[in-house]
Each structure stands twice: as structure tokens, then as C-alpha cells.
């Protein structure tokens, strides 16, 4: 009995080990881990970034961005485009000879169709509002589309670029959206092969791609809900790249000399900040108290705590690498004495009690809020940290219950307008971020909306940030840097390492060494 069971157990283990036989590295497939299974593969209604990663390889963009954030037609469906003098008519000249994966040719009709999907309220795109300013879509010929706007909109190309998806009209009308989501078709560098539910999405190279045919024949997006597992799989070279690698994992990988990995990093179009509730009944309707909080915060300490090298302290809102950044705006460098002075001026020499709200699902934000709590205590401000589940957090912040809350803003590239949009009194986002009224700021934002001269526009951006930062409607903490770690046999071109191009949007340019 005993012998028998030992033999049985041993043979079981041995058998399993033999079956496991070390996987042979297939260098014709690049494997990318994403945290969750993409929702629907629908370019119009998708809300998660994961679906965007997959679809951006299947589709082509109407207009591309270069590494500096300028619009370009290189690699884009539009061969050329024109904007009328008054800024209301955008004419797109579509490249001839592009075919969709189902063999049909891509024409201006498909571009028009794609616009109509985003405009269609029934479709329910989260970006729907960006397309409301479109008055007419006129097909001038098979390869020319004219988009007429109700009023000039300088940021139209930023917000209404179809999120990088020119969609096949005939295919979608034939099979319907539900089937399209199961078998998406586009004109991009990779073709959809199969969605293995719960496991991975498989794509293969489009051999007839009109631009850069992909170097690597197969592409897999694998779902790893637990980041530590993905990191181990990366170290074991079972995957080649982790999308959206958290800063702490990047830092620990980088400090691990044994890992056979390459690293890269770039600043992204995002800022992290705390927002004050400035409604009349809030203690922070007093500007001096907002300034006192700003002076009391030591941002270097926060960055060291959660991001290591992967952030720079913010000055104003538009990230430092962008021409519209305002390096001369008031940064409220750490100065606890000044904070105490301001408290005294405002009639709170012994400080006051307040609260910092943070969404519980975001560990970094909670940790930083706790650090801020300690820093505020040094100048006498007693802040409670309130962590709430996301739904409650939204209610508490939107309705003015939270005096201070910890926010993050990702702007739609390349135009920085959305960074400052919520300062505008009439903006629907104004109440969400604590209500802010300043006539001078309103006036500057109105000018920015219609200014077509780029240099002048950036100047206005600098000005509006300088003015607003005197009021500190929110206090910018830092601009994050994205850290990438990937298989050291993988080659990713240098010019992709910026938030405008982004490695993950151009996997067709990757290769194995």
C-alpha cells in the first residue's frame, strides 16, 4: 500500500514535469501582456485602453502624429488635408490603393461612415460630444471628404481624429456591429485571427499592408490580471512586453541586475494633482488657504515614495516637454514657513481640520494622500484621509463633499487644451473639479479656442496657466513618466519613445534581433 502510493505519487509528478517540457522560444510571435481582457472590439464605443491597443493594430488612423506631436500624413489614411482660412472646413484627401483585410478598397466613403458612427448618438460613443460641432460631411469624390464645422475649432483634429480608426463601411453594414466585434476588420498592419476567451487575442501580419509591413509575423495580446505574474512571465521571456507597467514594478525590475531586459521611458501627456473644492461654503474658497496647502506639500518626497525616477514635479498643468508648458508659473516650491504665514493671514494661526479624498482602487494616490496628510500636519493642518470606492468617490467629489481630492488627468494628444478646459466657467467639467471662476482666465480660454496661430496660442496657454496658478484652483503634483521593460531581444525604434507615437501603437515597427 505504502510503496504503491509512493510510486504513484512519484510517477504523477514526473509525468507532469515531462509534459511541461520547457517551451521553445518562438521568435515569430511578439507577446504583449495586458491587464484585463479587452471589452468589446468596437472602436466607437470602447472605453478601456486594452481594446484600443488591439484595435490600433487592426486599423489605420486618418491623421498621424510625429514624435514632436505635430500632425502628419506619414503612415496615415489621409494623403493630405487642408483647413479653410476661417477654420470651419477640413478637407481630407484619401490615399488611393489602401485595401481592408476583406479585400475592399478604402475610400472617402469609409471615412465619412466612420465619422457618422462617432456622431451617432444611438451608438453611444464616450467621445460623442467631440463630434457635435460637425455640420456637414460632403463626399467630393471617391477620395475626397469635406468636413464642415458649425464654428471654427482649432482642436478639432485632436479630439475628432476618429481615435485612430477608419472603419470599413461595407463590411460593417453587411455583418452588423455584433459580428464586427467578434471579427473586426480594418486596413492596418495586423489582421484579427482569433479571440481566445479569457486567454489571449491573436493577430497576424497583413502582408498587403500599404505602408510598413510588420517585421514580426504574429502578435498576441495575453491577459494577465495579476501584475506580479506578468512581471515573472516577462523575466522568464514568456512574454515580451508589458503594457502599462506600474512604476514600482519598473523600478524593481530595473534594480534587478539579473533580468535580461531592455528599458525605456518617456514623459506622458498627463498630470497628477490635488483639487480643491472652491464652492462658497468650502473653507478652500479662501485662496490663501489653498496656497498654504500648496506650500506645505513636499512633492519630491511624494515622487520618491511612489514613482522613484518616473515623475518630474509639475509647474502649471501642461507637461514640461510641450511647447505650451508654463515654466514661469508659480510652482509653490516647498516652503512650510510661508504656509504658516498664510494660515495666520487667513485667520487660522493654529491650522484647521480638513480631509483628503482618494479612490481606494488606486494605491499610489492613497499612499500619496497619506504622505500629504503628514506634511500638512507639520504646518498645523489636520487632514483626514478618506478613501472611497470609486462610485462613492465620484459622488463625494462631484457634489462638493470632498474639500481636497487626489486626481489624475490624461489629456487627449496632441493638443493640450483639455488640461485647462475645466477652468472655464461654462465648461461641464468645472463643477466636477470643484468650481472655479476667474474672468481673466475665461477670457484667455475663449481666445485660445479660436486662435489659429500656433505660436500665439502657446503664448496664451502659458499666460492662462500663470494667471490661474496664482489662484491654485488645483495644485499640480507631478508629471508622470512611463517606464517600459521588455525582452532584450526585441528592438523598438527610438522615435517611438514618446507619448505621441508610443511603442504600443506601432508594433509593426518592432523587430527581433
Amino acid at each position: 500500500m505504502k510503496k504503491l502510493s509512493i510510486i504513484l505519487a512519484l510517477s504523477l509528478v514526473l509525468g507532469l514535469v515531462v509534459m511541461a517540457n520547457g517551451e521553445v522560444m518562438a521568435r515569430d510571435t511578439v507577446r504583449i501582456s495586458i491587464q484585463s481582457e479587452p471589452s468589446r472590439l468596437n472602436p466607437v464605443t470602447r472605453e478601456d485602453t486594452e481594446a484600443g491597443f488591439v484595435l490600433s493594430m487592426i486599423h489605420d488612423p486618418l491623421i498621424e502624429l510625429d514624435s514632436q506631436g505635430n500632425y502628419t500624413t506619414e503612415g496615415a489614411v489621409a494623403e493630405d488635408y487642408e483647413i479653410s482660412e476661417d477654420g470651419t472646413v477640413y478637407t481630407f484627401y484619401i490615399r488611393e490603393g489602401i485595401t481592408f483585410h476583406d479585400g475592399n478598397e478604402l475610400t472617402a466613403e469609409d471615412v465619412k461612415f466612420s465619422y457618422e458612427q462617432f456622431m451617432d448618438e444611438e451608438m453611444g460613443s464616450p467621445h460623442h460630444s467631440y463630434y457635435q460641432g460637425i455640420e456637414e460631411l460632403n463626399l467630393l469624390d471617391d477620395y475626397t471628404l469635406e468636413v464642415v464645422l458649425e464654428s471654427p475649432d482649432v482642436a478639432f483634429l485632436t479630439t475628432a481624429r476618429l481615435r485612430g480608426h477608419v472603419m470599413p463601411k461595407d463590411y460593417i453594414e453587411d455583418v452588423g456591429w455584433e459580428e464586427f466585434e467578434r471579427n473586426p476588420v480594418g486596413s492596418g498592419p495586423y489582421k484579427f485571427v482569433e479571440h481566445h476567451s479569457g486567454s489571449f487575442i491573436e493577430l497576424e501580419r497583413n502582408e498587403d499592408f500599404w505602408h510598413h509591413v510588420a517585421e514580426i509575423p504574429y502578435l498576441e495580446f495575453r491577459f494577465y490580471p495579476e501584475i506580479s505574474t506578468a512581471v515573472m512571465a516577462l523575466e522568464a521571456k514568456e512574454i515580451d512586453f508589458i503594457a502599462e507597467l506600474p512604476a514600482d514594478e519598473y523600478n524593481s525590475l530595473k534594480n534587478n541586475p539579473g533580468a535580461e531586459l531592455k528599458f525605456g521611458s518617456f514623459e506622458i501627456f498627463q498630470d497628477h494633482r490635488i483639487v480643491f473644492n472652491k464652492r462658497d461654503d468650502s473653507i478652500f474658497s479662501d485662496k490663501r488657504l489653498r496656497q498654504a496647502v500648496a506650500y506645505a506639500i513636499n512633492r519630491e518626497e511624494l515622487i520618491a515614495l511612489t514613482r522613484g525616477d518616473l515623475a518630474v514635479p509639475a509647474v502649471g498643468r501642461v507637461p514640461g516637454f510641450h511647447a505650451a508648458s508654463a515654466p514661469d508659473a508659480n510652482a509653490y516650491e516647498y516652503n512650510p514657513d510661508r504656509a504658516r504665514e498664510l494660515l495666520e493671514e487667513a485667520g487660522y494661526p493654529d491650522g484647521f481640520e480638513t480631509a483628503i479624498y482618494a479612490p481606494s482602487g488606486y494605491r499610489e494616490r492613497v499612499m500619496e494622500s497619506e504622505q500629504i496628510q503628514q506634511q500638512l500636519a507639520d504646518v498645523g493642518i489636520q487632514a483626514e484621509v478618506v478613501t472611497l470606492e470609486w462610485g462613492t468617490y465620484l459622488d463625494a467629489t462631484g457634489e462638493g463633499e470632498a474639500p481636497i481630492f487626489r486626481e489624475r488627468w490624461s489629456a487627449t494628444a496632441p493638443d493640450p487644451f483639455s488640461f485647462i478646459e475645466n477652468w472655464y466657467s461654462e465648461s461641464s467639467w468645472n463643477p466636477i473639479f470643484g468650481v472655479y471662476h476667474n474672468e481673466e482666465v475665461d477670457e484667455l480660454i475663449s481666445q485660445i479656442r479660436v486662435e489659429t496661430d500656433t505660436e500665439r496660442r502657446w503664448e496664451l496657454f502659458r499666460e492662462v496657466q500663470e494667471v490661474a496658478m496664482e489662484d491654485v484652483p488645483s495644485y499640480p503634483l507631478y508629471w508622470p513618466i512611463d517606464g517600459l521593460a521588455y525582452n532584450d531581444q526585441l528592438h523598438i525604434p527610438e522615435d517611438l519613445f514618446n507619448d505621441f507615437r508610443n511603442p504600443i501603437s506601432h508594433i509593426n515597427l518592432w523587430s527581433f534581433e
Binding site: 509534459m19 484585463s36 471589452s39 514568456e238 482602487g361 465620484l394
Partner: protein, 308 residues
């Protein structure tokens, strides 16, 4: 008598199911925040929120909503996933097989290992084997499933490279999650098996069998084991819920795309039709396992029927 017992048991089961379905349904409404706003995000317009509420009948009174939902469920219609825009039953159907593969394999492993170790420990009472059995059982029970999974991946995946790190690439990737899940359960079987066996071995009929000079091996396999196994059979049915529960964590750690990881994903994405359906299904499985254990016990041991 027998009929009354059955009716009683089925009646209770039905009541439990109704209660469970109400709780599964209420989860959405008990969670803080407005479901429509949570689903649509921070910047949704009031208009869109109203449309969403209409579409999902969120404006109706709760009992009406529950009625509509449960009627659908009984017809096999769990509604549409908001995140995936697909019928929920279709999602669950594809995700059920990986979960069944994982849980059934883990259960088989746990039963074989647990019973074997328990029996050996009883026979060789107070030997090193007995102590090791106890210690290893304590070890597996006290270590959190999540941590155990990470340790397995680190040693057998990353360091030794014996098994793939997560994913569902064939049989090899099944091994680590099955052991991570099964070893914990094995611990639950080994200890009771040992004490049952000891109890039986002290019975008078075993002593008389020995006195009659029957071989020890025959006594153990033919006389003792059969009687000791009876309570253990129901034990298996009762541990089933724990295996299913444990598989949720294990699936996430091992990137195993079953119902557990779908559940976690759906909770995070507030995809409540999916969450409700999975909760209901898991509860159903648990309630059924309990009923099965009850019935089995009464078949094996008629005294249970009389007491009722």
C-alpha cells in the same frame, strides 16, 4: 417518512435559492454610489445617465426589477454584459470549462493525496509519517492561496523553469494552479481521514477480525477503510464550495481565464449582469452540493432519516 424527508430537504433548498438570488440581485444596489454613474464614468452627461437607466430598467421599483431579472434567469436569460456587449450566458459558457477543469483536477488531487496520507498516518500512528502529514496539512491551510500561487510561480516557473508562468497553454500550465488549489484542500481531507480511520480501527469488530487471524492488509482495506470512507464522501461535497471559492484567487494569479477571473474582472468593471449571474451560479452549485451531501448521508446512514 422518506417522502417527507425529501420534501423537507428540497423545500429548504428552494428557499435558500430564492434568498441567494435576492442577495445576488441586490449586490448592485447595496454597493455605494449610483450604478449608472459608476458604469458610465466621471464625465457622463445627465442625459446619457438617464438613457442608461431606462435601458437597464433602473428606474423601476426594486421588486419589479428583481421579478424581471429572475424570470429571465429561469428561462436561461441572464441579460447582456455591459462591458462585453454579449449575452451573459455565452460569456459564462466559454469560461465555465477552464474553471471546471481546474476545480475538478484540484479536487481529484486533493482526494487522492488527502485520503492516502490520512490512511497512512492512521496506520503508522505517531510515526514520522504521521507527524509530517499533520505538519504539511497545517502548512497548506495557513498559507494564503494568493501567496502560495505567487511562490509556486516564482520557484517552479521563474527559477526552475519547469512550468509556464500563467496562461492556458495546454496541460503544462494546468499543473501549478491545480497544485496550488488542490494542496490546500488535501489538508482538509487528510486530518479527518486519519481520525475516522483511527476511530474505526478501535472498533470491536476490527479487534475480533484481528483475533480471527485475518491479515492486517485485508483488515485495513476491506473492513476498516469502507466504514471510514462514509463520512468522508460527504466531506467532499461540503468542500466543493471552498474549492470554487479558492479558484477565484488562483485563476487571477495564474492568468487562468475561467469564471473566477471573469468575476473579478466584472466586479472591477462594474459589469453587474455578469457579477449577478456568476454569484447566482456559484451559490447554486454550493446549495446543490449541500443538498447532495445531505441526501447521500441519509442513504448511507438511515438513522439520519429517522431523526428528521
Amino acid at each position: 417518512m422518506n417522502k417527507k424527508f425529501l420534501l423537507n430537504r428540497f423545500g429548504r433548498t428552494l428557499l435558500t435559492l430564492v434568498g441567494v438570488s435576492i442577495i445576488a440581485f441586490m449586490i448592485l444596489h447595496l454597493a455605494p454610489g449610483d450604478p449608472a454613474r459608476i458604469m458610465l464614468g466621471q464625465f457622463a452627461t445627465e442625459e446619457n445617465i438617464e438613457i442608461f437607466r431606462e435601458q437597464h430598467h433602473l428606474n423601476e421599483p426594486l421588486p419589479v426589477q428583481y421579478g424581471a431579472w429572475i424570470t429571465g434567469v429561469m428561462q436561461g436569460n441572464f441579460g447582456y454584459s455591459i462591458r462585453y456587449n454579449r449575452p451573459v450566458h455565452e460569456l459564462i459558457w466559454t469560461r465555465m470549462w477552464p474553471t471546471l477543469t481546474l476545480t475538478v483536477s484540484a479536487l481529484v488531487l486533493a482526494v487522492i493525496l488527502g485520503f492516502t496520507l490520512g490512511i497512512l498516518a492512521a496506520i503508522k500512528r505517531n510515526s514520522w509519517l504521521d507527524y509530517i502529514t499533520t505538519i504539511q496539512a497545517m502548512f497548506w491551510i495557513s498559507i494564503p492561496a494568493f501567496w502560495l500561487g505567487i511562490l509556486f510561480l516564482y520557484f517552479f516557473g521563474l527559477r526552475l523553469r519547469w512550468f509556464p508562468i500563467g496562461g492556458m497553454a495546454g496541460l503544462a500550465s494546468l499543473v501549478l494552479p491545480v497544485f496550488a488549489l488542490g494542496l490546500r484542500e488535501e489538508a482538509w481531507f487528510a486530518r479527518p481521514m486519519r481520525s475516522e480511520m483511527l476511530e474505526v480501527l478501535n472498533q470491536a469488530y476490527i479487534r475480533s477480525a484481528r483475533a480471527r487471524g485475518i491479515k492486517e492488509r485485508v483488515i485495513i482495506t476491506k473492513h476498516a477503510l469502507r466504514n471510514a470512507l462514509i463520512p468522508l464522501v460527504t466531506m467532499i461535497a461540503l468542500r466543493l464550495p471552498w474549492i470554487i471559492g479558492g479558484s477565484v484567487v488562483i485563476e487571477v494569479v495564474f492568468a487562468w481565464g475561467g469564471m473566477g477571473s471573469l468575476l473579478v474582472n466584472s466586479v472591477l468593471a462594474r459589469d453587474f449582469p455578469v457579477v449577478q449571474a456568476i454569484l447566482l451560479l456559484i451559490s447554486f452549485a454550493v446549495v446543490m452540493a449541500n443538498l447532495f451531501a445531505d441526501l447521500l448521508y441519509s442513504v448511507i446512514d438511515p438513522r439520519i432519516r429517522l431523526e428528521d
